[in-house]
Each structure stands twice: as structure tokens, then as C-alpha cells.
């Protein structure tokens, strides 16, 4: 569903942000990508969304090369950013309605929107509240509602749980689990080692633009992911 083939990004100043990344996220799978700040996690997502163009290699969504056919590729992917600000003067339903229309989901009724907002755990009274009154947790829930309303087979999430309280973070991950069970391919960049270990089907560690480790959920059951992560980071520091 999501595939990076030798995906490389070198910026004009010479910085190699991504170095021949090869990975595949299948339908019905959560892939969590860990790594220090600047490791290349967000760059990977940005190239899947055509926010930046690769220097070399390909990013594919559902077999469509993003750089060649960005609009066609983006029909198959939804996106949740780290800090979902949205339109503060619009209500949750209005925000959801606008992005639903942009995603081509015309003709949805108010009840349809309410159903999705209910599903992501937003309180009923917040449906018609202006988003500028929302906490970060509420905004992230609305962000995932926007991803859900698109009903795309793949979802990209860039550190969606950062800054969320433990309860909100847990609810968010439960929701991602439900989406995975519906057959969606979920690619999430995160710093949250514990949730990655608990919920991901596979976890990758990225360092200096390279994917240095990938473990399955079963493999991680017998390993200490935090120790692994720190070991990789220490190797980096020592180098």
C-alpha cells in the first residue's frame, strides 16, 4: 500500500535527509517509525504527500508514484499532523465538512459528521463548538476524524500523540487500532516508544536518514525496544 523504494532526499545545502530508504507498509498494518529529531521521519512523510520532491527513488501509494501523479496518489492517503490547528472560527463539524468536501466526500449529512466525531471520542457538546476553544487532545481527535472521513486506504501520521495526556494518547492509539482492523495501512512517525511497541505491527528506527532497524511486534515481545533505541542512539553519539 505505502512503499518507499530507494527514497532519497538531499537538500540544496548538501544535507542528506533521507538515504535510500526502502520500506513497505501493508494494508491492515501499523508501522511506527522512531528516531531522533532530524533523523528523516517527517521528510519521509513529506515525500509521500508530495510536500517535497525526492532527489532519487520513489514514494508509492497504492502503486502510484507520488512525484509523477501527486493528485492521483493523494486520493489514497489521509494525513494527521503533529499539531492540528484547523480553522479556529469554525465548529468541529464545519471543519470536518470542509475537509470532507475537499476529499471528494460530498453530500454527507450533519448526522454523518456527528457519527464520525462521536467515533473519535469527541464529546457531543463539542460538535458545534468553535475549534479555537478546543484542547490539543480535542484537536487531534478532530484531525483523525478528518482522516477517517476521507476513507482512504492509507493513513500517514506525524507524531500525532505528542503533547497528549496519557488518556487521550491511549484513546488515540485505540482508534488507530480500529482503523488497522478495517484494513488500512497506517504509517506513524513518533517518539512514543511504549505505544509503538504496544500497538505497532512493525517498528522501525531511523538514524541520519537511514532505516537502521525493523522489528515485528512478535520480535519486540522478547526485546526491550527502549534499550534497542538507546543503543542505536548511543552508536550515533559515539560515531
Amino acid at each position: 500500500m505505502l512503499e518507499a523504494i530507494d527514497l532519497t532526499k538531499r537538500y540544496e545545502d548538501g544535507l542528506l535527509a533521507l538515504d535510500h530508504l526502502n520500506l513497505k507498509v501493508n494494508a491492515g498494518e501499523i508501522f511506527c517509525l522512531l528516531g531522533a529529531n532530524g533523523a528523516g521521519k517527517t521528510t519521509t512523510i513529506n515525500m509521500f504527500l508530495d510536500f517535497i520532491t525526492p532527489t532519487d527513488g520513489e514514494a508509492q501509494i497504492n502503486g502510484i508514484e507520488v512525484a509523477a501523479e501527486p493528485l492521483a496518489a493523494k486520493q489514497h492517503v489521509a494525513y494527521v499532523s503533529e499539531n492540528v490547528m484547523l480553522y479556529g472560527n469554525f465548529t468541529a463539524r464545519q471543519n470536518l465538512g470542509f475537509f470532507a468536501q475537499l476529499s471528494g466526500r460530498d453530500g454527507m449529512a450533519r448526522d454523518d459528521y456527528h457519527m464520525i466525531l462521536r467515533r473519535v471520542g469527541l464529546q457531543e457538546k463539542a460538535f458545534e463548538q468553535r475549534v479555537k476553544q478546543f484542547s490539543k487532545g480535542m484537536r487531534q481527535k478532530l484531525g483523525i476524524a478528518i482522516a477517517i472521513v476521507k476513507d482512504a486506504p492509507a493513513v500517514l501520521l506525524d507524531e500525532p500523540t505528542s503533547g497528549l495526556d496519557p488518556k487521550a494518547g491511549a484513546e488515540f492509539m485505540t482508534l488507530l487500532g480500529e482503523l488497522r482492523d478495517e484494513g488500512k495501512a497506517i504509517f506513524m512517525c513518533t517518539h512514543d516508544i511504549f505505544r509503538a511497541k504496544e500497538h505497532a505491527n512493525r517498528v522501525g528506527i531511523m538514524k541520519e536518514g537511514r532505516l537502521v532497524m525493523v522489528r515485528t511486534h512478535a520480535e519486540l515481545a522478547e526485546e526491550d525496544l527502549e534499550r534497542l533505541y538507546l543503543d542505536y542512539m548511543e552508536v550515533e553519539a559515539a560515531a
Binding site: K74, Y79, M85, N89
Partner: protein
Amino acid sequence: MIWKIARREVLESIVTGRAALLFLIAAALLGTGLYVMDRDYDIRRENYDLIRPEQDQAVAVAAPNPLSVFARGLDDAMGRSFEISVINMEIAGSQASANPLFGLFPTPDWLYLFRVIFALIAFLFGFDLVCSEKERGTLKLMVASGASRGEIAAGKWIGGWLSFVIPIALAAVIWLVLSRPLFGLVLSGGQWGRVAVFLIVALVYLSVCFTIATALSASFHRGSTALVAALFAWVMLVFVIPNFGVLAARQLVHVKPLALVSAERWQIFGSEMMKAYDEYRTDSGSSPFERHWAEMHRQGDQLSEEVDAELGALARTSAALVRVSPAGAFDAISTRVLATSVFDEARLKRDVRRYKNDILPQVFDQARDQAEPAYPAFVVSRASLSDVLAGGRTDLVAMVMVGALAAAAFFVALSRYDIR
């Protein structure tokens, strides 16, 4: 997709109350401007009634132009009365308002409001069109949702433009409808047509300002930086370039100083009178004065035409330099359409000279015979609207070109915009 984005833009303007606030501001400014300018017009009209010539007076004076309520332009200068005598043509009076404060502050006519105030509002509406989307993270979501950058640019421009133009246009139309019952402003059908053309040109001008602001919004990533750039652009386009254009034209085109022109007139007068006196002294039976008065008028007209030619060259050079700025071009077209431009003043001067030459034989007759002549009424010729539009075509094209360049810059900047 474009209309969905445009609709959201308009909706946000309504939800936040921005559209309502703009309507109230526009209504207050346009209403106040119309009231003040209409009162000023009434005073000038009263002054005109006082200096309006009787049939036995050789005086050329034009009635104040009711369209000057919208763009005063040079209507004050065009309201001077010219008294024609055997030896000279003097400015005898003026219809100018007695309020000296008008000289200290900008005239609050609609031309000023559109050119300066609403242009500023256009910049304020457009400067954060794109960078605000980036700052709140919605630009990423829009692009990720499948909207192309071209669709985002078009949708945001249309939505922003509608939410900005509709309140102003609505306020203007309401005041135009109310201008007769509230202020007693009476215009002919043709004059209403000119006001309509003025409003259309004003909206084109505001659209150009808005488009420049949107291009700036897609060139910066922070709203605060874009705001500074937008204010700088507004100052340059509305004040610096037009003023610089006029000053530069003054340096490029030589125009004889007025004092020198006056001195030359007196020289002509003295020379011809001396010749007439010499001839009269040589032959006391002759009557050379009338011939020399005619010669004096001929030379005086020649001098006036020379000065007019220099002033015309100055006006054309100024217009060419000033139209680099949409504000300068808008000013030029508006005053032409509303017949208060520098070209209308030049036309009036020609009319006055023609009138003087038409009635000069009767003026001589009156001087010689002490007769009570009946002078024909002075008639001001006005350029037709089609001639005006043909004359202002270059300014209009220049203004639209700047807008088209700004639109292209907006689309290019957004297509290369780093939305991360």
C-alpha cells in the same frame, strides 16, 4: 474544488464578523465622504450663482461639476471666472470652498477613499491569505486532501476577493441610491453612467491591490513579515511612486514659471500700447488702439498656447510615470471619467480662449460705443464617455497589467511555496 475553497473563505469572513465590520467601515466612510463633498458642492454652487455673469458681462465661468462630489480633482481650479476686457483676461473670482481646512487635509471624496483607505484594506485582507493557512497547518491538510496548488490559489483568491469586495460595493451602491433623497444630489443619466464606470474602475483597482497582497502572502512564511511587506507595498504604490512620478516629470519637462509668463504678458501689453501711442502721436486722427489690442490678444493667446503645450507635455509625462503605480493610473482614469482631470482643465482653458475670441469684437464695440452688448453664454465642452475611456485606455491597461503580473506572481509563488 475551487468553489469549495472560495466558499469556506467567504464563510469565514462572515463567521468572524470581518465582512460585517468592513461593511460598516465602508458605509461610514463613504457616507461621510459623500455628505461632506455634497455640502462642499452646494457651497460652490452657491458661489457660482453669485459670480454667474449677466448678459452684459464678458465673463467666462463654468458651473461646478456635480461629479466632483466623487472625485474633486481640479474642479476648484476649473471654477474660476475669467473676465474679458479689451486689454486682458483676468481671473475675477472663484467658487472654491471658504473652508481653509480643505487645503490642509486630503479631500475626503470617494476617489481618495478608494485610492488610499480601501486600498489599505485590500492589502490587509490579502496579506495573510496563504501564510495564515501555513501558520495554522491547514495548508498541509488542504494539499494532503487532494486539492492542487492551482485550485487552492484560485479558490482562496476568489473567496478572499468576494469577502472583501462585496461589503464595499454594497455600501457604495446603498449610498448612491440614498444620495438623492438624503443629500439632494441630482445627476443626469449620463452622469450616473460615469459614476458607474468610476465604481467599476475602483473595484478593478482594489482587485489589483488585493492581488498584489496575495502575491506577498505566498512569498513569505510568517504573517508578521507579510504584513510589513504589504504595508511597504501600499506606501510605495499609493504615495511614493505617484508623488515621485510627478516630481520626476517636473524635472524632465521644462515649464515656464508663472511669474515669467505674467511678466511676458505685461511686456506684450506695454509694447503694443507704446506702438499704439506712437502711432496716435504721429497721426492724431488715427485710431490705432483697437488694432494693437487685437494684436496684444493674439500674442497673448500665442503665449498661452505655448504655456499650455508645455503644461500638456508635463501632464502627459507625469501620467506616463505615475501609471507605473495602479494608484496613479486609477487616479488618472477616475478624474477623466468624472471630468475633473488635468485634461479637462486644459480643455476648459481652450474653451475660455475660444469664447474670448468669439466675443472680442463685441468687447471692442462696447469699449468704443459704450453699447450694452448681449454676450452669448459661455458653454463648457465635455469629452464624451467613449472619448474619455479611449483616453484612459493606457492607464486602464497599465493597471490591469500590474494586476495580471501580480496574479501570475501569486500562482507561481504558491506553486513553489514550501508548505511544510
